[in-house]
């Protein structure tokens, strides 16, 4: 007869179950980010000028933050390896479904191409892509809506609020 297993008092459900590796990737990524930041800060801060008259100088807080970041990174790695406080998978596609990944790529591309291609083209493309990724069914209504909204935003912000939006050839034709 099998005896019932009593879980440890402080163990989370994640700690008592096999842990999917994808749930560990992000905590490890953040730990690596903090560790890299602490090394960079430490290297940079060593070149800062010293403080005067009892004042600790501009390197004091960076050193402190670098030290705490390194400690937190190590603690996060230990916590993640032990499987404590890991998030539960909740949905198809896991942590990073393809459509979220595409959305991220579109956003990063838009941020860099905004200046080169002009407001209208970039914002129409972004709105269209986001609508599609969020589940819009008819591509042509999605495209028309994206174009009309982008044009309205261009007119309101460019003309009414005098925000100097980057203008491509199409923006000029459309009155931006």
């Amino acid at each position: 007869m099998e005896s019932a297993r009593v879980p440890e008092e402080n163990a989370t459900p994640a700690a008592t179950e096999p842990v999917a590796s994808s749930r560990r990737v992000v905590p490890f990524m953040l730990a690596a980010l903090l560790l890299a930041a602490s090394i960079l800060i430490f290297m940079q801060a060593s070149g800062y000028r010293p403080g005067t008259g009892g004042e600790p100088g501009p390197a004091a807080l960076p050193y402190l933050v670098a030290g705490l970041s390194a400690l937190a990174a190590v603690a996060l790695v230990i916590q993640t390896v032990r499987g404590v406080h890991l998030v539960e998978e909740d949905g198809a596609g896991g942590v990073l479904p393809v459509r979220v990944l595409i959305a991220m790529v579109v956003l990063i591309a838009a941020a860099y191409l905004f200046r080169e291609l002009g407001f209208f083209v970039v914002f129409t493309a972004v709105s269209f892509a986001m609508g599609w990724l969020a589940g819009a069914r008819r591509w042509w209504t999605n495209l028309i809506t994206a174009a009309v909204v982008s044009w309205l935003v261009m007119i309101v912000f460019g003309r009414l609020f005098s925000v100097p939006l980057p203008a491509g050839p199409i923006d000029v034709i459309l009155g931006g």
Binding site: G57, A72, V100
Partner: protein, 516 residues
């Protein structure tokens, strides 16, 4: 007496400006619409509109933020009552009895109770804010660099500790904020730090694009991840007006909820959800009426909604008087004050700008009254709002985020910063790392550093100054006591909230992943 005179002056400034009244009305409606959309929070609404307030006069811009804040919290009750899906975490407790009332054919009464309780809770907290904030500010005028340093440490310690399910994850988020806050020109020596030769970062990484990224773009990515639910609008049944018995029974509950909410709001690191659940628990201990709690008792709605709106006023007290934002919404509001050249702290209540402060208080009171009016008049419209599909919402959020990040300084770098923090925020939120401490680290880190170094310069490097002044000692004691309390009560509180959600309703409340 001068406080009430100043508040009357604030109302005077408000009512002579039709533009400002129109702005508050529009902001309350917009806040309620955003709050009514499941998963979207009042904080996100404020972060989205924050850059556009820069294009307005300070009094109008700040009034818009107040309207969005109050309207957003109240709007969260609508999907909680109609769909059992709280629009904001603050309304999770509302769903327990609100949705049960809908199932009993009393949806309109539940909505009326929610709006009534929200309005009363908000007005009570706004009045307490108007009275207490100037008194605390007067006291804080005596504070100097050592006290402000310890205060900033208090904020950083407590906020990171209570922000998430894991203490370590809260601190990791706070540290990311501290690292970001280091970038740029050192305010005392003029040394450039962590700019890596990029002149765009000489002035530091702006707060607003980061706010837009972690609250706006992150939420849009989370919405893309979640499946969209659309369908027929929920049935709006039952009489519109509350019965005299319900009003009579809920009077004490609303008064108690308003006071609990305000008190909880004053404590940095708490939030609207904690206030609502505490008030609900208290009401449950003293039940009135024939219907049990969790089965459609209007008092359950009254307790939760009066408290969550009251938290807003309470949370503004430490933010406006000491510059310590206690949670995400007030952090965004602090950003709003900063972009209009106003530095939160005791000096805000002195000089010419003090009249603007009382105008903000008056606006907050008006916004809460408008919640009742708009909520009662447009309840049917909101039943359609809760069903707006994700593929309509997401492009609008992203467009506002990108244009907002750019418009604040007309800089492409800010757009890139918003996107980078949006992507980072997505990974954090989906792994239970709270994003609020990132913002609070950015705000409180520089505050701690500047005051620490000032104090050290004044005293010639004497460290004991942080432990010998009476106010500093008091704040250190508060830090230790609060940390012990947070550590001991954290698990108990989470367990209590989970138990309420499990036992309170026959249907489990579906709380969508939202960012606060």
């Amino acid at each position: 007496m001068d406080i009430f005179g100043s508040l009357l002056g604030g109302f005077g400034s408000l009512f002579v400006s039709p533009m400002m009244i129109a702005a508050v009305v529009a902001a309350v409606i917009a806040g309620m619409v955003v709050g009514a959309l499941p998963g979207l929070t009042a904080t996100m609404a404020m972060a989205l509109f924050l850059p556009f307030t820069f294009l307005m006069e300070p009094d109008i811009g700040l009034s818009v933020l107040m309207g969005l804040f109050a309207g957003g919290i109240a709007g969260g009750s609508i999907p909680a009552i109609l769909l059992n899906v709280p629009g904001t975490p603050a309304s999770a407790a509302t769903a327990l009895d609100g949705y049960a009332m809908t199932k009993r054919g009393r949806a309109r009464e539940a909505l009326s109770m929610a709006m009534f309780a929200s309005a009363i809770g908000g007005v009570v907290s706004a009045l307490l804010l108007s009275v207490l904030a100037p008194l605390i500010a007067r006291l804080a005028l005596n504070f100097q660099a050592p006290e402000f340093f310890v205060l900033a440490i208090y904020g950083l310690t407590i906020i990171a500790a209570v922000a998430g399910k894991s203490l370590l994850k809260g601190y990791v988020s706070g540290l990311i904020g501290l690292v970001v806050g280091l970038v740029g020109l050192d305010p005392i020596s003029g040394q450039l730090r962590l700019t890596f030769g990029n002149p765009e970062f000489n002035g530091g990484i702006s707060l607003i694009p980061v706010l837009i990224g972690v609250f706006g773009i992150t939420q849009a990515l989370v919405l893309i991840r979640q499946s969209s639910t659309t369908g027929a609008p929920p049935a709006m049944s039952g009489p519109r007006w509350l019965t005299r018995t319900d009003l009579k029974n809920s009077g004490t509950t609303i008064a108690r909820g308003s006071l609990i909410g305000t008190a909880i709001g004053v404590i940095p690191g708490t939030g609207t959800d904690i206030g609502a659940f505490l008030s609900y628990s208290e009401a449950k201990r003293r039940p009135k009426g024939e219907i049990p709690f969790g089965k459609g008792n209007p008092q359950g709605v009254a307790a939760s909604e009066s408290a969550n709106n009251a938290v807003v006023g309470g949370a503004m007290i430490p933010m406006m008087t000491l510059g310590i934002p206690g949670e995400a919404g007030t952090a965004v509001l602090l950003g709003g004050l900063l972009i209009h050249g106003l530095t939160p702290g005791p000096q805000l209540f002195t000089g010419e700008q003090s009249s603007l402060v009382y105008t903000i208080f008056a606006t907050f009171i008006l916004a809460n009254i408008l919640i009742l009016v708009v909520g009662l008049v447009a309840a049917r419209v909101f039943s359609y709002v809760v069903r707006i599909p994700t593929h309509v919402i997401v492009p609008v959020i992203i467009t506002l985020c990108l244009i907002g990040a750019y418009a604040i300084n007309n800089r492409f770098t800010d757009v890139i910063v918003a996107v980078v923090f949006g992507v980072l925020g997505y990974f954090m939120v989906t792994h239970d790392f709270p994003v609020s401490p990132v913002i609070l680290g950015m705000i409180l880190g520089p505050m701690a550093e500047v005051n620490f170094r000032r104090a050290m310069t004044i005293t010639g490097g004497d460290w004991t100054v942080f432990f010998t002044r009476p106010a500093s000692i008091l704040f250190w004691v508060l830090i230790v006591v609060s940390l012990i309390y947070v550590w001991r009560s954290g698990k108990k509180q989470q367990k209590g909230m989970d138990t309420l959600l499990d036992e309170g309703s026959t249907d489990s409340v579906r709380v969508p992943r939202s960012i606060d």
